[in-house]
Subunit: 190 residues, 2 copies
DNA sequence: GATGACCGTTCCATATACGGAACGATCCGT
DNA sequence: ACGGATCGTTCCGTATATGGAACGGTCATC
């Protein structure tokens, strides 16, 4: 944004509302640049205004679902991928038995992949973790109730659940079958 | 503001725009009912208008990101879960059937997390991916022989294998049990 | 050093998403 | 039967997200 000095007499650019809006904008800009197309070009192809896209990428707009759909459709990514990164957390409970299979250290993020076995009948609560951490579980056997303590999600064999771990979260088996699952924890670096 | 003259008397209820809006509304209503709270109550807690929520649940509105965040925060679910239908895509090779559970886009790398089911007795060969791509499988049931075609690795339930997929690679079941596994593919960006 | 094509940003009138209030319906307790 | 509470919907003025049209900047080609 090399627009000279300070752009005096103009309409007040609305201050970016929440951090989330910034993140979505940043991700759109990244994706667009990966595709190697200009802002004008993407706006044209997606059938939206350049002003809209510009404001959105810079975090000054609060876009409409329709707008986001138009953009993601053109970029060929699921809309959810724009919202993927959030959350916090930490680890490790005691009732849950986990084996660390692999750690991925990348520039701005670390992933840890675990294989979990949770004995039938057990419940474990983990405290809130750092902001930005997310947990992603895939259930292969049994039924698990997991997620934020005030709104856990239920998943059976073959299902997948995701939550932000910046609030206390719980793992509780349901039924009398041991739960077998994989857990991927994502730690963005500040 | 400049609300013009030709603003005819009535405000016609806008026809629901796309199917996607309907789906999001339906999912919100379902989640709300699961929580056992009324529309009025949710609107109050989330700090949005009843009119907004009503119109949204019925598919007559094109909500703003801000509005969606307020609602999902109150319901305790990630916003992406409202768009779940867009996230799941199925890949199907000759033998392997996989559901894409999640995509992580980070600065210099992308991860894709799949859940796989490979019917007993099947074999599939996949062509090489770009250089630097690696695959990481966790086996939950059955026995799998997978990896580079000239040096595949054997893994049974509870085991984990990793290989570089910049060469042709193979997936072959061993024994007569279906293989259940999770597959994490890591794509570094050039 | 023009000219023209394109870029990203900003200005602005218009369209529309927003919340507050009014509404009829339902369900109490009295 | 009657208030009063709460429900979901609709009405409507206001706030704001939108796209089109400037605008200034950069980069070619002449």
């Amino acid at each position: 944004m090399h627009h000279s000095f300070m752009d005096s007499g103009r309409q007040t650019p609305r201050p970016a509302l929440e951090t989330g809006t910034h993140d979505v904008g940043r991700r759109i800009r990244l994706l667009r640049e990966e595709h190697g197309i200009s802002l004008s070009e993407l706006a044209r192809r997606a059938g939206i205004g350049k002003a809209t896209l510009s404001g959105l990428e810079n975090g000054f707009r609060n876009p409409t679902l329709e707008t986001l759909w138009a953009i993601t459709a053109e970029l060929g990514v699921p809309l959810a991928s724009l919202l993927a990164a959030d959350t916090t957390s930490v680890i490790r409970g005691t009732a849950v038995e986990g084996v660390l299979l692999q750690v991925f250290e990348d520039e701005s993020v670390t992933y840890e992949l675990y294989r979990l076995v949770i004995p039938a009948g057990s419940t474990q609560v983990s405290p809130a973790h750092h902001e930005g951490v997310t947990e992603h579980m895939t259930i292969f056997a049994g039924v698990l109730n997991a997620g934020p303590v005030n709104a856990p999600l239920l998943a059976g064999a073959g299902e997948h659940i995701t939550w932000r771990s910046d609030v206390p979260h719980i793992y509780a088996t349901v039924g009398d079958e041991d739960v077998q699952a994989s857990l991927l924890i994502r730690y963005p670096r500040p």
